[in-house]
């Protein structure tokens, strides 16, 4: 069978990027291998764990369930693109540090990206809504309590981002 290759162009964290990819290459692999952005982690590669979450045209999505060819022409933001331009941490990132929202850190980019998008759209979530919003991300270390505390702190402090 012929192995077709395709040219893709997208804006990643504000920078225009191009790559030549096989159609079967996921957006996650393209971000990591072609663009060197290894902050996007791959846990399960089939849509269960949420570690690969990135923003595509503003929407939080699983980058292991999207082929790079589908993201052609899109605006992508990864965890590397969340911190303010001058350095330092975003409000969500700061909350994770302050509340011990991570241990090994493998799941953290997915949680941080997911929560950033969720709080942008739901600035005043209830505790139950926050837990629901975090249900699409798995963590094998923390037992989630630190993550929930970080989410609550970030929800309270979004205005200073």
């Amino acid at each position: 069978m012929e192995t077709q290759v395709a040219q893709v162009a997208m804006t990643v964290n504000g920078t225009p990027r191009r790559a030549t990819v096989e159609p079967r290459k996921t957006l996650a692999d393209t971000l990591r291998e072609d663009f060197g952005l290894t902050g996007t982690h791959l846990g399960c590669e089939h849509g269960v764990c949420g570690a690969c979450t990135v923003l595509v045209d503003g929407a939080a999505i699983r980058a292991c369930l999207m082929f790079a060819v589908q993201a052609d022409g899109s605006e992508v933001v990864t965890v590397e693109g969340l911190a303010p331009a001058g350095g330092g941490l975003s409000a969500v990132q700061r909350a994770f540090r302050e509340e011990h929202g991570l241990q090994c850190g493998f799941c953290t980019p997915g949680f941080v990206v997911s929560l950033t998008a969720y709080l942008r759209d739901h600035p005043m979530p209830s505790g139950a809504e926050l837990r629901d919003a975090l249900s699409g991300n798995l963590c094998r270390c923390t037992g989630y309590q630190g993550i929930i505390a970080a989410a609550r702190r970030a929800a309270g402090g979004m205005e200073d981002q």
Partner: protein, 290 residues
């Protein structure tokens, strides 16, 4: 955990998509939101030599309300349908079912049409389609056709779509009058496919009698089911006299639920009784009090 190689096609119109599907026959598959197909391809449980991506066919993303029905384009993402004001006002059952689908990141990509074409027996949108007697519109090489939901879902992961047909839209009837709608389901974890669930629409008439009722079941068979015996028993009864648990038992009586690692058939049926009773109670409550 990577998909096998394939050729990628990105048609701009439905006609072009149908042509590509027809040209490559069994080797071609439609790609919609990819939230079911891509994991299956990564696990090598599904394989396609040609993927026909509907993602750039803008004409398949819309919600259009008319007096007695609402049309939803097949490529409308679940998240967009879930926050659409026309759907919320005219097909509340659909709006209420969508938050039960996976997680918000999945709903941001998964489509209304893809959920039906995939035909998981525990999926929410197919259950709503069957319960409201929606019609599914398909385009192939011949004339576009309308398929009643009851005929669309033929078995687990199987529909009556032809290999070269594209599902283009769903048409949901609007229930007028004093109607109420509810979805209840039980899953092991938030966002998982349900062990069992029920969706219910009810209309009250004179003397608080149940004029019309539809109860759909998910996770209790190879396809989303209608609880016909339960509906017959409830119709014409005064809402206050109804024994919802008895209706729940009637609803699951003839079902043959799957037996798998998540639940036994007996357990699924017990959950089904409770979910049907609760969905009916909530729908009646809404019909009576708004």
């Amino acid at each position: 955990m990577k998909a096998a190689p394939f050729c990628y096609h990105r048609p701009g119109t439905v006609a072009e998509a149908v042509e590509t599907l027809a040209a490559f026959g069994d080797g071609a598959k439609v790609l919609a939101g990819g939230q079911s197909l891509v994991p299956l391809m990564a696990l090598r449980l599904a394989r396609a030599e040609h993927l026909v991506d509907l993602g750039r066919i803008a004409a398949l993303r819309y919600v259009r309300g008319a007096a007695d029905s609402v049309a939803v384009g097949a490529m409308t993402v679940q998240a967009a349908a879930g926050r659409d004001p026309v759907i919320a006002a005219s097909v509340p059952l659909l709006a209420r079912a969508i938050p039960f689908i996976g997680h918000f990141q999945v709903r941001n990509r998964g489509t209304v049409g893809g959920s039906c074409a995939h035909a998981d027996p525990s999926a929410e949108i197919p259950a709503v389609a069957v319960t409201l007697d929606a019609e599914l519109e398909a385009s192939g090489r011949g004339r576009p056709r309308l398929i009643p939901a009851a005929k669309f879902f033929t078995s687990t992961f199987t529909t009556s779509l032809e290999p070269d047909e594209v599902l283009t839209a769903l048409h949901f009837p609007v229930w007028p009058g004093r109607s109420g709608f509810a979805v209840r389901e039980f899953a092991r974890r938030r966002g998982d496919f349900a062990v069992a669930g029920a969706v219910c629409a009810v209309t009250l008439g004179q003397g608080e009698r149940i004029e019309r009722v539809a109860i759909g079941l998910l996770g209790l068979g190879a396809v989303p089911l209608r609880a016909a015996a339960a509906e017959r028993a409830a119709t014409g009864t005064a809402a206050g006299d109804l024994d919802v648990t008895e209706i729940g038992h009637l609803a699951v009586a003839d079902t043959d639920p799957p037996d798998d690692v998540h639940a036994t058939p007996g357990y699924r049926r017990r959950v089904g009784v409770a979910m049907a009773a609760r969905a009916l109670t909530a729908a009646l409550e809404e019909a009576a009090h708004g």
